[in-house]
């Protein structure tokens, strides 16, 4: 009876804890495709890249619909302008122009369908240097933090993004390869598929603010959390963190974007709100243009975290359920080597010998033996 009682209690409590499940919204019929503007006018000698795209319907399979053949120019409130040139995939480029801090700048966009968009004039915000990147290996995850300060107390609002790179190895090493229907020894110096490097970019909006503090100090703003069993931590790991300085309005825009796409879900969260960017159609103020244009500089810093520095409990989850098979030339009249290896279903690892004679090969699925399927086998230049 007592056990039953406790079970009932537990049952009730478990169902109280809110349940979240997948949900398909009523299909939306909106065919409106809005202009999306992303990028930073770099006020230093670095180049400026602006990306233009269009929103797509939720049910569309396209991820990115680039906006091509637009004409972009940067205008200063002092009167000077420079143009951007088009690159593939809706990217628009300009070499570095060192912009005077005393002026404000705006972006003019003329799209292929002859609509003109203008951003508001934006002041230049220079990012102070990143003081340090630090990390903590917590039991469940590795956490990387950025710290900075502005002795002039003038930056206040910060945004971070990153590119992280990690070394990894497949579950099995393939010493052979199939060339023109024959299994030959692999050149493991130049054609190694065992050890690779992979990179990713941040997909979350990471913001920090010192507005509430007495000094313009950011202490250990979390930049990334890597689960302990991620392949990112199977060997050495490196992260390049970029820091942007924001105006108060830009910070509000990014906060709004963060709220709308990342923080929803708990009971007290705010309702989604319409994004208010700083780019407008000059003829139609009601047209929604997504994006906030900033002007300024970027500072960056890289750190390496060696596998030997991480706790021993950080073990990689085997995502591919890897196993090796013994494949024989003749197993009950079936040539398994031909069926599995020559056909490309599995990769040859090493020969199987019996009494000095090769009777077959060990094989493994490509995901378990070829790292180039998800990385590159060329060591990055910055790798230590």
């Amino acid at each position: 009876m007592k056990g039953m009682f406790k079970y009932l209690l537990l049952l009730s409590m478990l169902s109280v804890v809110a349940c979240r499940e997948s949900y398909t919204p009523p299909s939306t019929s909106s065919n409106v495709s809005n202009l999306v503007v992303e990028g930073l006018i770099n006020s230093s000698a670095d180049s400026t890249i602006i990306t233009l795209s269009r929103t797509v319907k939720l049910t569309d399979s396209t991820i990115l619909k680039p906006e091509l053949h637009a004409i972009l120019s940067v205008e200063s409130d002092g009167g000077s302008t420079f143009n951007l040139t088009e690159l593939p995939k809706g990217r628009y480029y300009s070499v570095g122009h060192i912009l005077p801090l005393t002026n404000k700048y705006r972006l003019r966009i003329k799209t292929a369908d002859s609509k003109t968009y203008l951003s508001d004039y934006v002041e230049v915000k220079q990012s102070p240097a990143i003081d340090s990147l630090s990390w903590k290996a917590q039991p469940a995850a590795l956490q990387v933090y950025a710290s900075t300060h502005d002795p002039k107390n003038s930056t206040t609002y910060y945004r971070y993004d990153y590119v992280d790179t990690w070394q990894f190895q497949t579950a099995y090493q393939s010493l052979y390869k199939v060339v023109n229907g024959a299994i030959v020894l692999r050149d493991i110096v130049n054609d190694d598929v065992f050890t690779c490097w992979q990179s990713s970019v941040s997909s979350r909006v990471t913001l920090a603010s010192s507005a509430k503090l007495k000094q313009d100090v950011i202490y250990e703003a979390p930049v990334i959390t890597v689960p302990f069993d991620s392949e990112k931590l199977s060997l050495d790991y490196s992260i390049l963190v970029k820091q942007y300085a924001l105006t108060k309005e830009a910070f509000a825009f990014w906060t709004n974007m963060q709220k709308n796409t990342e923080q929803l879900g708990s009971i007290f969260d705010a309702q989604p709100t319409q994004l208010q960017g700083n780019i407008h159609n000059i003829n139609d103020a009601t047209e929604i243009v997504v994006g906030y244009l900033s002007v300024g500089t970027v500072t960056q810093q890289r750190i390496f975290i060696k596998k030997s520095q991480l706790p021993r409990s950080y073990l990689v989850k085997d995502l591919y359920s890897c196993h090796a098979d013994t494949l024989l030339y003749n197993r009950s009249m079936v040539n398994e080597v031909e069926r599995y290896i020559l056909s490309g279903i599995e990769l040859p690892l090493y020969p199987v010998n019996s009494g000095g004679a090769a009777i077959g090969f060990m094989g493994a699925p490509p995901d378990c033996a070829d790292c180039t399927l998800r990385g590159v086998n060329k060591k990055p230049t910055f790798w230590q």
Binding site: A18, S53, K57, L58, D60, S202, E220, Q274, L275, Q276
Partner: protein, 919 residues
């Protein structure tokens, strides 16, 4: 016995009057009855007694006297009893409940004999009698109670009969019972103190008394002049209070107000609740026109009003947060509550300050006759209550407390939930004291506390603290007053100490000090006049963020306090024009002063209130009136009876609200911010016109009604996109004032008697808001009307109880409503390394419809009246069908892909069990 001597001695000293010699007696009485006492005194002295023996049946005298004066002996004997004696020469009159004045009334000497029966003398006499605390208690049906000064014949004209209706068992007042005089077709209902006043022709009458949960009763009276009659009623005893049989059968049709629902605790207890604990607010949600935005909120919306537009009163104390554990439990203790009354259309003129409704929750008064108590044990909470008399049936107390012990349970959960903790409690303590028949005082106090932490490092806590002192004074049978003073406070705090550099504790509180004087005057049978005044002083601390710990670098941030005084005077009359037509007309005039000290920002006129458009900041010193808002509020309603069980009603109301709740989350959350109207934020104003048809069927056992309403709102606050509400020093830059309209029709069927009882309601209602002033800031949806967050067009509720026997009953509760509006993503785009979504117009879409069915089985212990404890069990299942109702839907990008989710609360059938005990 020994204690009596000093007392008697005192009397000897204090009496200096000289009496005849032969008035001393010596006797030793042991349990003597009245006859033995009288005989002995008559034997030893020359006195002769006049009395009615049956009245003195209960008297027993144990007394040893030696050469004591008769008057001293009688004083001793009758001390602390309702018996009196009067000595007139050699005659002694013994009376019960009333003193005979042996001297002629002072005014008598000046008049001739014919004026003996003049009203003035009688009035003087009546008042003298009324001052005595022992007003006759009418308990039997067959006796004729004489009211007033008995004369040989009834005089012509009317007289006023007044008194209290009480429960014979506990002495509690019976509220809202009707007292009806069939001969004159006039009737009244008792007020919140169980008090009634009836102005009827002198003569013989039969009073028909019907009270909720009480046995219908009759009392016969002979009304000679103004007088008092307290009536004690029997409870429907077989039902052990848990099952309700209504006697309030015609109230629905007869009462003037529209949109008023009264429920007693017995009906509330029938409705299945989560975890088996009766939940008042969840029952309110089953009534037509009342909706909630979701499962985990007890904030409710009445007829298209926002959650902050409801005035929630617990014994006249304002409760700001009526829920525990962010809405899983309501904050009212079901063992203490007597009944609730919800006004959604005709809001009496004595209430004000909120636009949509008044939920008036009344606690029981403590049992005046004996100590009783109850306890309930549930899965998550337990509760206990004790009540009883303090002295001589005039003072009683009631105490109730509830607490939760869910913490240990959370620790047994999977580790994801282990960082959670929950605790809450609430305490009620009420005292009532009858000073005398004219004066009563009531002290009520309430305290609730909540603390919780759910899987995060942030801890939330909130408290309600309330106290009120009420003094009821009867000037005469026709006029009484209630003076109330009180203090209400709501505060919350949020704290986090995970990052030592920005560890913080955020505090918020709102305080109000109230004073009000309410008067009720019954000038004649056809009129009931209410008038009074009230004043509330608000002190609001909208937020103070302080560093927590030594390492914290946080700059303390304190949003300056706000002060205001809200005052009102009102006058209202309920006028029975004919026996079929009744009009309720009231006028309330409210005056609001926003007071210093405060620094007010002024913005350029005609431009949006944004920091850019700030032109001046003015500092006002303490006590300075910064801004005044004022205006009349009209409360009108009328009822016309087409037949005794069929009536139509119409009403018109205007209301003003000076206090705003700011929340851009969908539910009321503990971190919402209250805001007083100031020079930048106007008070909300609303008016409502409504019409209803009421018909009772099958000898008033089935009530039906249809009500329609149309409502307008102005200056209701909605939010700019991405508004920040917490710790905002210039909140006016983040809110927009909207106009609103709401309309709807409500169908209601209620069955009061029989084995099957319950109610069924269907509501069609719409609520829209718009912001079309481009100078005020951003236009929402291009300035068109958009549905409010709580716009749910269709709602069906069924609540039923079927009694197999007096001990076994089952209850079923079913709810369906249209899903509430949400703002949906309409398209995707790629930005900052991830796919993101663009949202639709505000509230353009809806979440899936809501449906839930709850079931419970109630088992009462045996119904023997005399046993030490009465116990009962409740078993049940909440959300029987296990439907995963969406509380909200949301879109999250995970690994660069946008996934849509819906969040459900109580998504599985939840079995519950509850054990209750009364002693």
């Amino acid at each position: 016995m020994r204690k009596l001597y000093p007392l008697v001695f005192c009397f000897i000293l204090s009496y200096s009057q000289v009496f005849a010699q032969n008035n001393l007696i010596s006797a030793n009485f042991q349990q003597a009855n009245i006859h033995q006492l009288v005989t002995e005194i008559e034997r030893q002295t020359t006195f002769h007694f006049f009395y009615s023996q049956p009245q003195f049946d209960s008297l027993r005298v144990t007394l040893n006297v030696n050469n004591e004066r008769v008057e001293n002996v009688l004083t001793t004997v009758f001390k602390n009893t309702s018996f009196h004696f009067a000595i007139d020469g050699q005659r002694i009159f013994l009376t019960k409940g009333r003193t005979i004045t042996t001297e002629v009334a002072t005014s008598f000497a000046d008049r001739d004999a014919s004026s003996l029966s003049s009203e003035q003398n009688l009035a003087a006499f009546t008042l003298g009698a009324a001052a005595d605390k022992n007003v006759a208690n009418a308990t039997t049906e067959n006796k004729i109670y004489d009211i007033g000064i008995k004369t040989n014949t009834f005089k012509s004209g009317n007289a006023v009969l007044a008194g209290y209706l009480r429960d014979i068992k506990s002495g509690e007042p019976i509220v809202g019972a009707s007292i009806y005089v069939p001969e004159t077709k006039s009737g009244v209902a008792t007020d919140q103190f169980g008090y009634y006043s009836l102005n009827i022709p002198r003569g013989r009458h039969t009073l028909v008394i019907k009270g909720l949960g009480m046995r219908d009763a009759r009392r016969q009276i002979a009304l000679y002049s103004d007088g008092k009659l307290n009536i004690e009623l029997q409870e429907q005893v077989t039902t052990l209070k848990e099952v309700k049989i209504s006697a309030d059968k015609v109230a629905n049709v007869r009462r003037t107000e529209l949109g008023v629902t009264r429920l007693d605790i017995a009906s509330i207890k029938q409705v299945p609740a989560v975890f088996g604990e009766p939940d008042i607010l969840r029952v309110v949600l089953t009534l037509p026109g009342v909706q909630s935005v979701g499962e985990a909120t007890t904030g409710f919306n009445v007829r298209g009003g926002a959650a902050d537009q409801n005035l929630i009163l617990l014994n006249d104390m304002t409760i700001y947060n009526p829920s525990h554990f962010f809405g899983f439990f309501s904050a009212f203790d079901p063992d203490i509550v007597k009944d609730i009354q919800l006004y959604k259309s005709s809001i009496p003129e004595k209430f004000g300050g909120r636009l949509s409704s008044v939920l008036d929750v009344t606690d029981r008064e403590g049992n005046k006759k004996k100590f009783t108590g109850s306890a309930g044990i549930g899965l998550i909470t337990s509760r206990v209550s004790i009540e009883g008399p303090i002295d001589s049936n005039r003072t009683s107390f009631i105490f109730g407390a509830r607490t939760t012990y869910a913490d240990w349970l959370l620790s047994t959960l999977p580790k994801d939930y282990r960082n959670s903790s929950v605790s809450f409690y609430d305490i009620n303590f009420n005292l009532s004291h009858e000073i005398n028949a004219k004066n009563n005082i009531y002290l009520t106090t309430y305290l609730s506390h909540d603390n919780f932490k759910l899987n995060s490092d942030t801890a939330y806590g909130y408290n309600n603290k309330n106290i009120a002192l009420k003094w009821k004074h009867n000037f005469s049978n026709k006029l009484y007053s209630v003076i109330t003073g009180g203090y209400d406070r709501y505060d919350y705090n949020v704290s986090s100490d995970v990052n030592p550099v920005d560890a913080y504790k955020l505090n918020f509180n709102v305080n109000q000090t109230n004073f009000k004087a309410d008067f009720t005057y019954y000038p004649s049978t056809n009129h009931t006049v209410d008038f009074g005044l009230s004043s509330i002083y608000y002190k609001l601390n909208p937020g103070s963020n302080q560093p927590l710990g030594n390492e914290s670098l946080l700059t303390p941030d304190v949003v300056p306090a706000q002060q205001a005084l809200e005052s009102a005077i009102y006058l209202g009359d309920k006028w029975d024009v004919t026996s079929n037509l009744t009009i309720n007309a009231g006028l309330r005039y409210s005056l609001y002063n926003y007071l210093g000290p405060h620094t007010v920002n002024y913005y350029a006129p005609g431009l949006p209130k944004e920091s850019i458009n700030l032109v001046d900041s003015v500092h006002y010193s303490s006590g300075k009136v910064i801004k005044t808002y004022k205006g009349p509020e009209i409360r009108l309603s009328a009822r016309y009876s087409l037949s005794p069980d069929f009536s139509i009603k119409a009403g018109y109301n205007t209301l003003r609200q000076y206090l705003h709740l700011l929340s851009n989350t969908t539910a009321i959350s503990p971190t919402d911010v209250y805001q007083l109207s100031d020079p930048n934020i106007k008070p909300q104003y609303g008016d409502q016109v409504s019409f209803g048809i009421y018909k009772n069927l099958k000898s008033n056992t089935i009530e039906t009604s249809v009500e329609v309403y149309y409502k307008r709102l102005s200056d209701y606050l909605d939010y700019k996109s991405g508004a920040t509400l917490v710790l905002n020093h210039h909140i006016e830059t983040d809110v927009i004032e909207t106009k609103g309209k709401a309309y709807g029709v409500e169908f209601f069927v209620k069955k009061n008697a029989g084995k099957l009882n319950g109610w069924l309601s269907y509501t069609y209602s719409r609520t829209f808001l718009k912001q079309d002033d481009p100078n005020a800031g951003e236009l929402i949806n291009g300035g068109a009307y958009y549905p409010a967050n709580f716009d749910k067009p269709h709602a069906v509720n069924f609540t039923g109880n079927y009694k197999f026997t007096h001990r076994y009953s089952v209850s079923l509760n079913t709810t369906y409503s249209t899903g509430r509006p949400i703002t949906l993503p309409v398209s995707r785009y790629y930005y900052d390394g991830a796919e993101r979504v663009l949202y639709s117009d505000r509230n353009e879409y809806r979440i899936p419809d809501y449906f839930r069915m709850d079931f419970s089985l109630n088992v009462d212990g045996n119904h023997k009246v005399h046993q030490r404890t009465h116990n009962s069990w409740t078993f049940g299942v909440y959300n029987l069908t296990g439907r995963k109702n969406a509380y909200s839907t949301f879109f999250v990008q995970e690994n660069g892909v946008i996934n849509s989710y819906k969040l459900s609360i109580f998504a599985n059938p939840i079995p519950f069990i509850n054990y209750n005990i009364r002693f």
